[in-house]
């Protein structure tokens, strides 16, 4: 049954095509059915294929399906071929599974929107692109998916394009991603030059065969990672993600939390041999991840827009995934990606449910005490918050602990990794703190609702709450397939599943006492964060205000997101616009327009002369014709 895996991306593609062509004539109910069904079908096939993988003996994969030869020019060859191995399987399951739940949720959330069909067309297109990205068997096809999801991201951020800020946010996302993609493309080119193929199997063989030097590996790995920082919103290219919240909330959940933004992590895991070969590149990945994890968390602390807090939280959590990749725990990074997909999409969808209840209100300062109005949203949101905070027995705990344990274990080799671990722990406290700040400000405490909003307050319809419940279930349970190694290696089913793809070179062992100690520390910091949030926002709400007035500089810095947007604006955007203006005035207007206008004038002049011969009289034409014949004959005869 696993041979049909190549159908996975093409079902949503077919659905996109139908919706794009006939969408306007189809009834709304059918559109919702088809869009959801296509993704569900992909999910079913992914599940069947994944089960098939489990039964296949190791060494028999990756399954590769070569559909056709796409580019062939001399020795340069790219096939349109798909691949299915444990890593693709995990991603395909997450994309189609979480994607399906979010599609269903969207049916309720977007019910009254004018662009209903357009929305589902984009959403299906996104699913297709993302599945191509994760199932491509070579870097070039992966890049196609990579750009495809970027395009869908742009289209969906600017979905309400009549709103100026949404259109701008879409543009920002697109342009910032282009910067990263330049690096990614350069990386692919270097691989092509030195290895001669972009197929993952060929690349892995070349790397394990020692075909490329460490220095070259570092260069390629860092170039590829530049692409990852763009797509996965890491320092320095993270600025687009908070603005991306202008899009519909289910889009934020699917694209800007669960799937697309984790593409960078997937890519690094896919190229894990490269990053294992080059320790410098791996350290760069870990460092960028760790700094981003803490830095984004501090910004999440001061935001009042519920979706922006979640956006910074996403940036911070992806930072954790990169810590995992950087310290060599690729499986743990993927594991965090997988659990994060559940609880972060849950949090976003629950936030969407809150906005739905409050007529679109997103400012937490105007919420509070919502717990009694939203009897289903509240517990599900709380579960998501607990999971992300890293409280034991919830999924986020297992994955975060796996990453941090590995980071600590790597400390045996270099003190650098202790530093990474320290940042990770700091980020964990902040995560629990900002998440529960969010919970307490929204659902607890005094009501600060607008009286007008309060009149219309209502729990969301079933089509929206049932997805929340399902995701809440997974946010708790998803972690149990990857239990900490200390409980027994066999129980880390997730890591075992990924083993054939991810070759862990350095085995690191920690004593059982150390492992338990690390688990205790992780638990402690999670509760510490929650406790601080409780003190700050429930027991004595004056403290944060006092802190803000006592350290106005720090608070202002954090509240204004470290002025990074302003700095980028002044350093990159403004000069670009200024130089563009100069070039426009001098080159475009004078040289190019001059050439174009000159051609037009010359053509007009020539036409005027020639039109003199066109008298409209039949006899003149006959005469010219006759003369022509005579000249022709004369030429032939003499």
């Amino acid at each position: 049954m696993t041979e049909i895996f190549w159908l996975i991306p093409f079902i949503p593609a077919a659905s996109t095509l139908i919706l794009a062509v006939f969408g306007k004539k189809l009834p709304k109910k059918y559109v919702s059915f088809q869009a959801c069904f296509a993704v569900f079908a992909s999910f079913v096939i992914s599940a069947i294929s994944a089960v098939g993988l489990l039964q296949t003996a190791h060494g028999n994969y990756p399954l590769v399906k070569n559909l056709f030869s796409w580019i062939q020019a001399g020795s340069f060859q790219v096939n349109l071929s798909l691949m299915f191995d444990p890593l693709s399987a995990v991603m395909a399951l997450v994309v189609s599974g979480v994607g399906f739940i979010i599609h269903v949720y969207s049916v309720g959330y977007m019910a009254d929107d004018e662009g209903y069909t357009r929305y589902f067309t984009y959403l299906n297109l996104f699913t297709f692109s993302m599945l191509i990205l994760v199932m491509a068997s070579n870097l070039v096809l992966m890049f196609v998916g990579w750009e495809g999801v970027g395009l869908c991201s742009y289209l969906l951020i600017g979905f309400w394009f009549e709103k100026h800020s949404a259109a701008n946010a879409g543009k920002k996302a697109f342009i910032v991603n282009r910067i990263g993609d330049t690096g990614f493309l350069l990386g692919i080119l270097f691989i092509f030059i030195h290895i001669g193929s972009a197929e993952f199997t060929a690349i892995n063989e070349a790397i394990s065969g020692g075909a490329i030097s460490v220095g070259l590996a570092t260069l390629i790995a860092i170039l590829l990672f530049v692409g990852a920082t763009g797509k996965s919103a890491q320092i320095p290219l993270y600025v687009w993600l908070p603005d991306a919240m202008e899009g519909p909330t289910p889009v934020s959940a699917l694209i800007h939390a669960a799937t697309m933004v984790t593409a960078g992590v997937y890519m690094v895991c896919r190229m894990n041999l490269l990053y294992t070969l080059s320790e410098t590149a791996a350290q760069v990945v870990a460092l960028v991840g760790a700094i981003t994890a803490v830095y984004a968390a501090t910004m999440a602390l001061t935001q009042n827009d519920i979706k922006r807090v979640l956006a910074y939280s996403t940036i911070s959590q992806i930072g954790y995934m990169f810590i995992g990749c950087g310290v060599g725990a690729y499986a743990a990074g993927m594991f965090h990606l997988y659990t994060h997909a559940f609880f972060k999409s849950l949090l976003f969808l629950a936030a969407g449910s809150i906005m739905h209840a409050l007529s679109g209100e997103i400012n937490m300062k105007k919420m509070g005490g919502l717990r009694k109005y939203l009897p289903l949203t509240y517990p599900t949101f709380l579960i998501g918050a607990i999971a992300i905070a890293g409280v034991p027995f919830f999924s986020g705990f297992f994955s975060k602990d796996a990453i941090l344990t590995r980071a600590f274990a790597q400390g045996q080799y270099s003190a650098f990794y202790y530093f990474i671990w320290g940042l990770g722990i700091m980020g964990a406290v902040l995560t629990a703190l900002y998440m529960f700040r969010l919970v307490f400000l929204t659902f607890h405490g005094e009501e600060r609702l607008d009286p007008e909003v309060k009149k219309h307050i209502h729990e969301s319809p079933k089509v929206m709450t049932i997805p929340l419940v399902i995701l809440a279930f997974f946010s708790v349970g998803a972690g149990y397939i990857g239990l900490p190694v200390v409980l027994g290696k066999k129980l880390n089913f997730f890591g075992k599943f990924l083993e054939p793809v991810i070759k862990e070179v350095k085995e690191v062992h920690l004593s059982i006492q150390t492992e338990w100690m690390l688990i205790a520390i992780a638990t402690f910091v999670a509760f510490l964060g929650i406790f601080i949030a409780y003190v700050f926002y429930i027991r004595s709400p004056l403290i944060p205000r006092n802190l803000a007035t006592r350290f106005p500089t720090i608070y202002k810095l954090m509240f204004n997101k470290y002025y990074v947007d302003e700095i980028y604006n002044a350093v990159f955007v403004k000069p670009t616009i200024k130089w563009s203006k100069i070039i426009y005035d001098n080159f475009d207007l004078k040289v190019i327009d001059g050439a174009v206008n000159g051609t037009a004038t010359a053509t007009g002049f020539a036409g005027k002369i020639l039109s003199y011969f066109q008298s409209g009289l039949i006899k003149d034409y006959g005469l010219i014709f006759l003369l022509g014949v005579i000249i022709f004959l004369a030429y032939l005869l003499f």
Partner: protein
């Protein structure tokens, strides 16, 4: 037997007459007839040479020319008729819609 040259001379004479008529006459119908004369002059030349060369090619071409000429006559006359209805004239000097 009449020599081949006589037929060719007749063909040239017919063609030149047609051409002169085309430039001298003023109404479209006569000009149209002169075109037909030129066509038939060409036909005559074709068929003469076909005969002298003992080949069927020229004769086949003549059949084509006759068919095309028939179609052309039908369309051409219809156009002239419509022009007359619109403009109340068939003088070729008065018709210069296509002047550039």
């Amino acid at each position: 037997m009449i020599p081949t040259n006589y037929f060719l001379i007749l063909s040239v004479v017919l063609f030149v007459l047609g051409a002169i008529a085309f430039f001298v006459k003023r109404d479209l119908v006569t000009q149209f007839m002169s075109i037909e004369i030129m066509l038939n002059a060409a036909n005559l030349a074709f068929i003469t040479l076909a005969r002298s060369a003992n080949s069927a090619d020229g004769q086949i071409i003549v059949f084509f020319i006759i068919t095309v000429a028939a179609a052309e006559a039908a369309i051409g006359l219809a156009i002239i008729l419509l022009i007359f209805r619109q403009k109340k004239t068939i003088k070729s000097e008065d018709i210069k819609l296509m002047k550039g």
